[in-house]
């Protein structure tokens, strides 16, 4: 687990519709070490009112010059670390103000991630990997999807948002998944309603198939997805979110309730996660720390 805390430069902070931004950072030491499912802690420098770093999934890593990370991800040419984020409060507002050339504190890569050891075997048992994303949750899924694409897995993305402006990052997914099912609450793009409806339809139609689900998004969506996975008996990975103090396992601020008792009752999203098997989590708003996005 090689993590680095560095002051890095903003290469570009591209505004996208709906208050989203694609932030590209020059991180030659951090980018080559990123594994799918990991995250970064971003710090606004020179101010104490927005005190804590903000956790952000690592959306993508790229070679210098914006070249796409190809099959040899580990090569040293990888130096651009990309974050895809949405303005929701003052921390993300400060991040939105970043301009090319500005500096930020970047502590990365962090988290256990979708370990090859752990999820590849399960993926191999399945006929298709289904990614389920709600809004900015999409940011956690691109790198895993890319890695699975390299290994030639069949993949499908279910992606829901409130409006069509929430459906960011689609272009990046096109080359990696074989199909995309979109949903918006107002029906402006794709299905009208929650993304778990097309997912349910799909699972219902293909009860004979084996799927691996990977989900990230608001907790209501996660819960619904996990319910479906349980009902149809498919394994499900979830990328969890929680407020974070340190990102490295010392503050115990990010702990969520998991199966187990006593000292085993809580696990840290930043260290044991952010990706968990869905049946590990206690899916109860009160005890899991979920709901901060609701």
């Amino acid at each position: 687990m090689a993590m680095f805390d560095e002051t890095v430069s903003v290469i570009e902070n591209r505004p996208l519709p709906g208050g989203h931004f694609l932030l590209s950072l020059d991180a030659p030491r951090q980018a080559p070490n990123v594994r799918p499912g990991q995250f970064a802690m971003v710090r606004a420098l020179g101010r104490s009112d927005v005190l804590l770093r903000r956790p952000m999934s690592i959306f993508d890593v790229q070679a210098h010059g914006g070249g796409r990370a190809g099959s040899n991800r580990k090569e040293s040419a990888l130096r651009i670390l990309q974050l895809l984020f949405k303005i929701v409060g003052r921390g993300t507002r400060v991040m939105a103000d970043l301009k090319s050339g500005d500096k930020v504190g970047l502590l990365a890569p962090l988290g256990h991630g979708f370990f090859e050891e752990e999820y590849l075997p399960r993926a191999h048992e399945s006929d298709e990997v289904l990614h389920v994303a709600g809004g900015i949750g999409i940011a956690a899924l691109l790198l895993p999807a890319k890695q699975l694409a390299e290994a030639r897995f069949k993949q499908r993305l279910f992606f829901g948002g409130r409006t069509k402006d929430d459906l960011v990052g689609i272009n990046e997914f096109k080359p990696v998944v074989s199909a995309m099912l979109l949903a918006t609450e107002n029906g402006a793009m794709g299905y009208r309603g929650y993304v778990t409806r097309p997912l349910e339809d799909y699972l219902t139609k293909h009860t004979n198939k084996k799927f691996l689900l990977m989900a990230c998004g608001p907790s209501a969506m996660l819960r619904a997805t996990v319910e479906l996975a349980k009902r149809f008996r498919h394994p499900c990975l979830v990328s969890m979110e929680n407020r974070m103090g340190c990102g490295v396992g010392v503050c115990l601020g990010c702990s969520i309730r998991v199966q187990g008792s006593g000292h085993e009752a809580y696990q840290r999203v930043c260290t044991e996660g952010p990706v968990f098997w869905s049946d590990k989590i206690v899916w109860d708003a009160e005890s899991s720390g979920l709901g901060i996005r609701d």
């Binding site: 687990m1 090689a2 993590m3 680095f4 805390d5 560095e6 002051t7 890095v8 710090r43 420098l45 020179g46 101010r47 104490s48 009112d49 927005v50 005190l51 804590l52 770093r53 921390g91 500096k103 930020v104 504190g105 970047l106 502590l107 929680n242 407020r243 974070m244 103090g245 340190c246 990102g247 490295v248 396992g249 010392v250 503050c251 115990l252 601020g253 990010c254 702990s255 969520i256 309730r257 008792s261 006593g262 000292h263 085993e264 009752a265 809580y266 009160e286 005890s287 899991s288 720390g289 901060i292």
Partner: protein
């Protein structure tokens, strides 16, 4: 993160860690001394990390050179492992953060077996923060820890709710403070530091009580009891409703308490509260602290403590002063 002086201009606020190694000045030059001694224990410098903000040390070993620290105060250890509070446990406020972790920890036994061996090998000393819900359990915890080798001192955390007495906090009740400190001191194989709560009317009173009951040093402050509310849902931001406030916003009050405590007792005082850079640390030292602890700053800038080590060296070099000359050297008007 406070007002910047010459000092901060030399060491600007940044996310990088581990500044250039300090070089030994040429012979003949003034060589400031930074070592400190508390209750017979030597610490290579006065910059420590605060309990609950630095895990068991190892977590930060990839990011900073732990051997440059004076001491590491580990997360509060209770006799048995504890699971802590349901989330949400933390919340950011203006220049501060609220936490109600609920003292999730591995317990004394696992600490000795799994954590202490790593810590023992460091040049930084190990201070074990001790926590329990009753005087008997404090004593029991210390007795368990006494088995460990290489502990520099205990830090008695008496700022936590005491279930036995119906929610009264040890650290805000003079009688209970005296009782638990005396009992702990009697049990302790290693020197005993007592960590005071800032949620009291008269900090000097508690400082004197702890001293009288046998404390070898005082560390202060722990967190201030605070609260935050989500107005959209009209629910508390922290599941525990109230929580402890830490960070730069509390520094002025913490500093005042350290100043008052240091004048009230003869034993050494260790300053804590919102320390985020060399200048903050120097303020506490000048107010009377013999050492300081970096807490919340570890979270957002893990390099803070190392930057402070270096900043204090630069300052002492520039001012031609030993650390000991600085402690409590505040010049006040004739009052």
């Amino acid at each position: 993160m406070t007002n910047k002086s010459q000092l901060e201009k030399q060491a600007p606020d940044s996310g990088t860690v581990n500044g250039p190694a300090v070089t030994t000045p040429p012979a003949g030059e003034f060589i400031p001394q930074y070592e400190i001694e508390i209750a017979g224990v030597k610490f290579q410098n006065p910059v420590w990390t605060a309990s609950g903000t630095f895990g068991y040390g190892r977590e930060y070993s990839q990011l900073i050179d732990l051997n440059q620290l004076g001491a590491i105060c580990v997360k509060g250890i209770s006799p048995e492992p504890m699971d802590g509070n349901p989330p949400p446990r933390i919340y950011e406020t203006d220049s501060g953060m609220l936490n109600a972790i609920g003292l999730q920890n591995v317990g004394a036994k696992r600490f000795l077996n799994e954590k202490l061996p790593f810590l023992r090998k460091l040049k930084a000393r190990t201070v074990v923060n001790v926590f329990a819900y009753s005087t008997e359990d404090y004593v029991r915890c210390i007795e368990m820890l006494n088995e460990g080798e290489g502990i520099a001192a205990y830090e008695l955390n008496i700022s936590c709710p005491n279930t036995r007495c119906g929610g009264i906090v040890y650290g805000s009740d003079p009688k209970l403070t005296e009782e638990v400190v005396a009992a702990a001191k009697k049990a302790a194989r290693y020197p005993l530091f007592v960590k005071l709560s800032p949620n009291v009317t008269d900090i000097a009173l508690f400082a004197r009580i702890a001293e009288g009951a046998g404390a070898d040093a005082l560390s202060l402050v722990n967190t201030f009891v605070g609260m935050a509310i989500d107005v959209e849902t009209r629910t508390p931001r922290i599941s525990n409703v109230t929580a402890g406030l830490s960070g730069p916003g509390i520094k002025p009050v913490a500093l005042r308490m350290v100043y008052q405590a240091a004048r009230a007792v003869k034993i050494p005082v260790i300053g804590i509260g919102g320390i985020a850079g060399p200048e903050d640390a120097l303020e506490f030292i000048i107010a009377g602290a013999r050492a300081v602890q970096v807490g919340t700053a570890n979270f957002y800038d893990p390099g803070t403590s190392i930057r402070i080590v270096k900043g204090i060296r630069d300052y002492c070099q520039r001012k031609q002063l030993h650390l000991a000359d600085l402690v409590g050297s505040l010049k006040t008007p004739g009052k």
